[in-house]
Symmetry: C2
Subunit: 374 residues, 2 copies
Amino acid sequence: MNTISFRIKNKDKSARTGIITTKNGIVKTPAFIPVATLGDIKTLPSWDMKNLGIQIFIANTYHLHIRPGEKLIKNLGGLHRFTGWNGPIATDSGGFQVYSLSTKRKIQEDGIIFSSHVDGAPLRFTPEKVIDIEIALGSDILMPLDECVGYPAGIGYAKEAMDRTNRWAKRAFEYFKTLAYPGLLFAIVQGSTYTDLRKEAANVLTELDFDGYALGGLVVGEDPSQTREVLSSTVPLLPQEKPRYTMGLGKVEDILWAVGKGVDLFDCVIPTRNARTAGVYTWKGKINLKNSKYKDDPNPVSEKCTCPTCRHYSRAYLRHLFNTDELLAKYLATLHNITFYMELMKETRKNIEEGTFFKWREEILSKFKGGFDD
Amino acid sequence: MNTISFRIKNKDKSARTGIITTKNGIVKTPAFIPVATLGDIKTLPSWDMKNLGIQIFIANTYHLHIRPGEKLIKNLGGLHRFTGWNGPIATDSGGFQVYSLSTKRKIQEDGIIFSSHVDGAPLRFTPEKVIDIEIALGSDILMPLDECVGYPAGIGYAKEAMDRTNRWAKRAFEYFKTLAYPGLLFAIVQGSTYTDLRKEAANVLTELDFDGYALGGLVVGEDPSQTREVLSSTVPLLPQEKPRYTMGLGKVEDILWAVGKGVDLFDCVIPTRNARTAGVYTWKGKINLKNSKYKDDPNPVSEKCTCPTCRHYSRAYLRHLFNTDELLAKYLATLHNITFYMELMKETRKNIEEGTFFKWREEILSKFKGGFDD
């Protein structure tokens, strides 16, 4: 039944490429996974997605459970049909909402009781129920319920949450096994910024044969050096032959750094969120299109870019649209930023396979110091 | 130099079809002109426009003068190149802002002094300057500066504004003639709801050889029966051989009624504005996608529709996107509504040419009584 696999192709020192096979197609890694919390990558219709090079997106179990509900989606043929996307879909578990909606939930041994952010209704999320929701959606890569801890967290609570996450992961794993569902179930390693806790979590979770391993609870307020310390010490403890996924990590410099440590998958709202506030990516660095220096710039956002926005419009026109709050601006910038991220990952894979990744990375990183030019 | 013409093809009683030839292509009439105040039809990229059947849009001189300015647009190759649209473009004169920004302007014999709605800067609009701006933009159909009077207006002020509009029209006409610019200059007939004033304006303006005649100052708060009374009495006074344009008239029932009176051109924000609040058109009538009865509706917005939205998505998915305030919803509904309006006009032209317009119109109108079903 399970036709799913991960095949490592090439390695350039610790960076590697691979192929994840799911029931709805393959994902070439390292891959960036755009965020589609409610089923859509914000502003993008499904018909753009393949053309932009998107391989997979990640939807959110908590949000889709509330609106429109997994039963409705299942009755309409599943999330793929509902959203018009027939490639792989990953689903986050609701564990991130422990952090992002921290005033609206209670943690119990059995699971999480949320108070719906929409109408306050009580919502009970258990490891088993989350799997049921993800299967009703038709997910290809399922994340189990976890407890995402914010920063800073005392070591006592961090350990408690990590232990609970591990127990939930085990319940999810055992339950999932009984269902013979053709999806990949990943584990999520927690432990906050404590490398010993991360190590303990990795050891416990790798005793079970999950299809992949994610690091959760990163980029929640800690210093970038702490993120990197956790990654450096934890990634080597994860199985070589399984995909590794750092959840929420998405800055260009962070992705390229983590690829060098052997990470395969990334998701983040950064490229789409920045797009909606005029922050766009070029191979010469990041720029903000609201900056007055682009007001009469006849050039496309990025010279080498083949996205529809760069093929049709000048920076001056995009600046005009942002400057006058036209919604179209957000869509056009999103088309561009997603294209940039997809190209970045394609170049990453190519350079790994050609053995030039680390040299190429230096060139790119020199352009991506600091923020946008606004 | 002037290669522009209007050719009347067919007539079904007073309804007629025609072709307007401009330097940037033809417009088959009766035609609906989507509104692109700032250069974009809200949410639509230029690459969608031809596919949806759009023939022409109307941009706004006042708004583009303020942001980004006609000089900037001209330096970047004109409004066509700036917006990525190589078909005909009409430009409104700023006269509508006399009504819509009534607290921010002073009327003088020479022209209008606006206080910019963006930064309060004083802006002087004269008939000649408006022509200059429209030519700098590269407009194909130019509207002259007029004084759009709101409802209700006393007959004294209505006459004053109508007379001034006529004097401005004459100045615009004389100035335009000296420039040998290959665009069409229309006149705008004012006169509020007073049919005698409308008659007087029509008589004065038809003494000059404008390329087309518009009725302005309609749908500004008056009763629909008054709009129709003005139309019924004024349209017959306009030259048969010139295009006739009712500015701001855009409800399905109003368009079809006016086509029956011999009107050729229409513009309105209705289809795009409704789209952004979930109001969409079907051949069975108008529906609001936020209505809970569509929550699990697997059908497209409109069964017969070939727009990208109907080809890819269910009403249930669109309702979900509107219900969760996803921006994508606005774009998808706009794609549909513009397609509907373009199909409506295509069917109108076809039925006129086949001599079945009035019979066909009855069928359509029976579906378009009342508002959206929300």
